[in-house]
């Protein structure tokens, strides 16, 4: 299958090239009815390489999730560039790429775990998790087996697998969300509060999965509330504050490519 990459830590000799380069990203919402502009993230610049995790931290409402949604194109950025290097080595601006290209990348290369699980109703947790893999052409039985393993590793009890997640607790749903997000090995992962609403044991399982994804070579941008978790996982932490003045508090000052948070 061409779609399932082998799990070698760093695919070919691209270790030096960032997977994602964000330059001057800004997002504001114009509300027609009120004639008002609501600012969100502003003047944000950073880079992520294969195997790195960049953590976005800061108070609620500062625009952390907006950054992830801009990268995923759920939001249209108001300014700046989001340059993504594809598996094939092409660099394209996710803010401007054709929709067909974004849809193809979402299926194969860019995964997102949103804060809340959105999934088709009436589908079992197992099918929800297996679906991205099946859509890529994997046989349903293999995909479901992989989903079963992932869900079990994340501590979702087997009796819940055949049940639709609508009835699950917040923490269970979140783990289904994460399992679905990582079942296809992605080049770029966007995680929005992946450890929120989890008990310590479940949180450690999720941290284990994220570490594995890094080791595999995924570039990850993640929003965290919990600074301890961010510190454990991140190469760099970008603080998004209110008012939005991003500040790069690099976890490793000797990092070859420090994230550059432009301040406006």
């Amino acid at each position: 299958m061409p779609t399932l990459r082998n799990l070698s830590p760093l695919p070919y000799n691209e270790a030096g090239q960032p997977v994602l380069r964000i330059a001057g990203l800004g997002k504001e919402f114009y509300l027609h009815e009120q004639g008002k502009t609501v600012p969100s993230a502003k003047g944000l610049s950073f880079e992520v390489r294969a195997g790195e995790l960049v953590a976005l931290v800061g108070p609620s409402g500062a625009g952390k999730s907006s950054v992830l949604k801009c990268i995923y194109r759920t939001y249209l950025p108001s300014s700046g560039q989001i340059l993504y290097r594809t598996e094939g080595g092409r660099e394209l601006d996710l803010a401007a790429a054709p929709e067909s290209e974004i849809l193809a990348l979402r299926e194969r290369e860019i995964g997102a775990v949103t804060q809340f699980l959105h999934c088709l109703p009436r589908q079992s947790a197992l099918d929800v998790t297996a679906r991205p893999l099946i859509r890529l052409g994997e046989s349903p039985s293999i995909a479901r087996e992989k989903a079963r393993q992932l869900l079990s590793r994340l501590g979702v009890p087997v009796p819940l697998h055949p049940i639709a997640p609508a009835t699950f607790s917040g923490g269970e749903r979140q783990r289904v969300n994460i399992a679905r997000g990582v079942i296809v090995p992605r080049r770029l992962l966007l995680l929005d509060e992946p450890t929120a609403s989890l008990d310590p044991a479940a949180r450690d399982r999720v941290i284990g999965i994220i570490l594995e994804e890094k080791q595999r070579g995924a570039a990850i941008v993640a929003v965290f509330h919990d600074l301890a978790v961010a510190g454990k996982l991140a190469e760099r932490t970008i603080e998004i504050a209110q008012p939005v003045i991003p500040e790069d508090i690099s976890a490793d000052l000797n990092s070859v490519i420090p994230a550059k948070a432009g301040i406006q």
Partner: protein, 276 residues
Amino acid sequence: MQRVLEVSGLSRIYGRGCARCAGETGPAFERNVCPACGSVVAVHDVSFHLLPGEILGIMGESGSGKSTIVKLLNFDETAGGGQARFFDGERTWDLFGLNSAERRWLRDNRMGTVYQNPHLGLNLDISAGGNIAERLLMNNVLSYREIRERAVQLLARTQVPADRMDEHPRRFSGGMQQRVQIARALVTNPPLLLLDEVTSGLDVSVQARILDLILELQEVLKISMIAVTHDLGVIRLLASRTIVMRYGRVVEAGLTDQILEDPQHAYTQELVAAAL
């Protein structure tokens, strides 16, 4: 990028039309009736494309022109302007440049339409199996056994009980009529399916099963579909991309999650705010 359908500058005016029709209707004027001549500008200068295997949502309220688009594409109505090219494997069809025989052949073989109203898509006074057979007969599949087998297959796929195959759809529930309509549309394995408000007016639980069926068909058969609806829930569930229409114009187009979470146009913002 490969495409199944490419529509550009599509227009349709009901009435005699005049020079001011296009310039004085649309979202900016909040009307689709021309103040000069009284013609209805149902669709004006609409362009979009459909990707292989995707479901494109066309969203809008009554009178936005969304259903007219389906009627123009499946030849129920004649386009007043614009072009629509249908890329069917090796062949490219210029939909508005065909003669009537070609149009009929294409409609009977290479595209399927499912209407909100089953009366439009089915003959309610011949059996469910007969409705399916009819489309196969037009398609020169002549063996009775072959037709019957195909009908059984399709009805099973759309979850219509086989023992009701010889009943008239008039006696079926609304949801079951929609299933027979879908089976009929699918019988010739068309690469393009047009869905016009297929779940409107059905009970919520029946709606859910029809939507599940449509998703399954898309996933298994990889059919490209256009789903016209006023229902944001249907759009969210089915469509990867969505165009939003008002007064015959496209006011916004984008990825469905972007349209729903970061709507740009005043009208879309109003629609989304009203639904959530």
